[in-house]
């Protein structure tokens, strides 16, 4: 087995390659490079990131996106609609107000994904209003893992496990002789082991981190405030970025709404500590 690790998106990404890939070192490093590209594009703290560029220019003119980024926005807006607004990538101002960092483009912003307009014909985004702040913190790790997994598969890797900050996981194939990759999941006081094979997993526990003001790191955009009551939750499914977005949405909602997609499984905390 080959192991790789890197620091990105304010956390540690790790990768274990178990099988496949003509040159495992090259494959592993290419996957990590993809994660770093995502970090550079979606950081709200860097002036030269795509997020900062959209914040600066998106209200004045349509900003062109590549296909991967357009699909990320499309997924983010789809989850926002299906979750009744519980997941929202325009949550940056709320995060800043509650001590989770100031963005590189100011902090006096308002929340509301209805102000993002995607053009499916031209792959562009327009922001309605100059005061929208984007935060991809609840979906970028999963997006990076999806792209990194695609790089590994292209390189011929048939068995690998990757995680970002232990809260977002992608499994490719299975180690030799195993059904899949065993992953222990702790939700509040309950603990279980899931076996992942060609699947992703994301865990959201709003009480696990707090900002400088002592507020939980998960916001409820509907209330314009950090979540007050929440349930730790894990979401398993094919796409890491959708698992990421939905785990945040479900932690805020405390239930699965009608719009929760087929092919995904939600696992809520079953024991109250």
């Amino acid at each position: 087995m080959q192991r790789f690790a890197t620091a990105a998106m304010g956390t540690r990404f790790e990768l274990v390659l178990a099988a496949g890939g003509g040159d495992p070192v090259a494959a592993g490093e290419a996957a990590l490079a993809e994660i770093h590209e995502c970090h550079a594009r979606f950081s709200r703290f860097a002036a030269d990131s795509l997020v900062s560029h959209i914040a600066r220019s998106g209200a004045a003119r349509a900003v062109r996106l590549d296909r991967h980024t357009f699909e990320l926005f499309a997924d983010a807006l789809a989850v926002w609609r299906a979750s009744e607004g519980a997941f929202d990538i325009t949550v940056a101002p709320l995060m800043a107000v509650h001590g989770h960092g100031a963005s590189a483009v100011g902090s006096s912003r308002r929340t509301g994904s209805e102000r993002l307009e995607l053009d499916e014909e031209r792959w562009t985004i327009t922001v309605r209003g100059a005061d929208v702040g984007l935060d991809f913190g609840a979906i970028a790790k999963g997006h990076a893992l999806d792209l990194a997994a695609a790089v590994l598969r292209d390189a011929g890797v048939t068995a690998a496990l990757m995680h970002g900050g232990t809260s977002s996981v992608v499994a490719i194939g299975a180690p030799e002789g195993a059904r899949g990759w065993p992953v222990a999941v702790k939700l509040g006081a309950s603990r279980r082991t899931l076996v992942l094979r060609d699947a992703a997993l994301s865990v959201s526990d709003p009480s696990s981190h707090t900002g400088s003001a002592g507020a939980p790191h998960v916001m409820d955009p509907r209330a314009d405030a950090p979540v007050s009551r929440s349930r730790p939750v894990a979401v398993q499914g094919p796409s890491a970025r959708l698992c990421d977005a939905w785990s945040t949405a479900l932690a805020v909602l405390g239930r699965t709404p009608d719009g929760f997609p087929g092919g995904y499984t939600a696992i809520f905390e079953t024991t109250t500590p």
Partner: protein, 408 residues
């Protein structure tokens, strides 16, 4: 410390107003305004650097990437799939022949393949942006410069420092703030093997041409040349000799190309640039440092700082400048687009450039093509910087001190 927004705005606007004399470049340096209908251009070479170029071109609305060429069909199609409507080719000559509407090409193939493509494109009447270094041999570098000189088309060498607003700003400060230059040093540190997966249709050797001693310029030529060129530009002169050494310190995979190098490039006046690069450690990443009797400028592509000596004359604008503590020294943060940011109330302490260094080089090229702007880094300048890189690599490989010919 969080500053009240009204006070921050006041200071930012004061900075913008007062420091325009010395600290701030023209806002257009950092944020060009694009006007006009999109012009069709093409990418040749869709590896990692090619894809980075495509990403940056999305931010230049007057460019429409109409075609993508790569010898690996799957790579061309994957790159085209990221955009709307780009046609794919596996032979650059077919692209030049079948797409007469493409007026400019970005060449991002392996270094040793540049010359033929650049010559064909210029011959076909296309403007050319060629990634740095221009070539892997002195003959090829001179050949590209000669082809560009014989052509009426724009031929821009991708040495990014000359287009980077932070570096342009620092160039002016070199003259006003450092007084007598004392020394220069630079580094490029990454923790990576420099190995890449070979896509179907490409051999491992071709995919890893940077590790092929037959064609690779190693760390001095492939990455160092970009940084050496900043010193060439600032000094208005090229080094006269180079010595160096290198070894494989970490990646013991049978490679012959050193993963760690140290170099000294010496100018005619005895001032030298000390350079270190490694693939074995990432500490400090990439930067250049220029020290003079009155201060030191440190540049790191998107960021820059000026450290004044205690006995250096103080300029009026410094009172309002943003400062950062770096170990024992307090640095004045260089802000490349501060005038525009201040006008928008968006100036933040330590803010870097709003775009990548690559973007500014591409933007300069596009402005040359669409607006007739002067070429920021000509093929001749690119060829000279490339030759310095080639000779620096030769110094590492041979262990000898190499004289660098005068460029006249």
């Amino acid at each position: 410390m969080t500053m009240p927004s009204d006070r921050r705005t006041f200071l930012a606007q004061s900075l913008g107003a007062l420091a325009g004399v010395a600290l701030l470049p023209h806002a257009m340096d950092a944020a060009p305004l694009w006007q006009g209908t999109p012009r069709k251009m093409a990418l040749i070479g869709a590896g990692r650097q090619g894809r980075a170029i495509l990403t940056e071109l999305l931010n230049i609305p007057v460019v429409e990437v109409a075609a993508i060429c790569d010898v690996v069909p799957a790579r061309a199609e994957a790159a085209a799939g990221r955009l709307k409507g780009a046609e794919t080719f596996t032979d650059h000559r077919a692209l030049l022949e079948k797409r007469p509407d493409v007026e400019a090409v970005f060449v991002a193939t392996p270094t040793h393949l540049h010359r033929g493509i650049v010559e064909d494109a210029l011959q076909a009447g296309r403007h050319v942006f060629c990634e740095s270094p221009l070539a892997s041999t002195i003959d090829d570098a001179r050949g590209i410069a000669a082809a560009a000189a014989a052509s009426k088309q724009v031929c821009h060498a991708g040495f990014q420092g000359r287009s980077n607003p932070m570096y342009r700003r620092a160039q002016r400060l070199m003259l006003t703030e450092l007084r007598d230059l004392v020394s220069m040093r630079a580094q490029w540190n990454r923790k990576t093997s420099w190995r890449f997966p070979a896509p179907e249709g490409l051999s491992a050797r071709d995919a890893n041409w940077r590790l092929d001693p037959e064609v690779s310029l190693g760390l001095p030529g492939e990455v160092g040349a970009q940084q050496f060129d900043v010193a060439h530009w600032y000094r208005g002169a090229y080094p006269v000799r180079v010595s160096g050494r290198g070894a494989v310190r970490l990646h013991n995979d049978g490679r012959k190309v050193a993963d760690t190098v140290s170099l000294d490039l010496e100018w005619a006046d005895g001032i030298s640039l000390r350079y270190d690069a490694t693939l074995a450690n990432s500490f400090g990443s990439q930067y250049e440092v220029f020290s003079g009797a009155n201060g030191t400028i440190q540049l790191a592509w998107s960021h820059g700082w000026l450290f004044k000596e205690a006995d250096a004359p103080t300029q009026g604008w410094e009172v309002y400048a943003t400062r950062q503590q770096v170990l024992n020294d307090e640095g004045i943060v260089l802000l490349a687009d501060a005038t525009k940011l201040a006008a928008q109330g968006e100036l933040k302490a330590g803010a870097g450039l709003p775009h990548s260094s690559l973007y500014y080089a591409l933007a300069d090229f596009v402005k040359s093509v669409t607006e007739g702007a002067p070429v920021a880094c000509s093929a001749e300048e690119g060829a000279r910087a490339t030759i310095v890189g080639i000779l620096a690599h030769e110094a590492v490989v041979s262990g000898r001190t190499i004289d660098i010919p005068s460029f006249g």
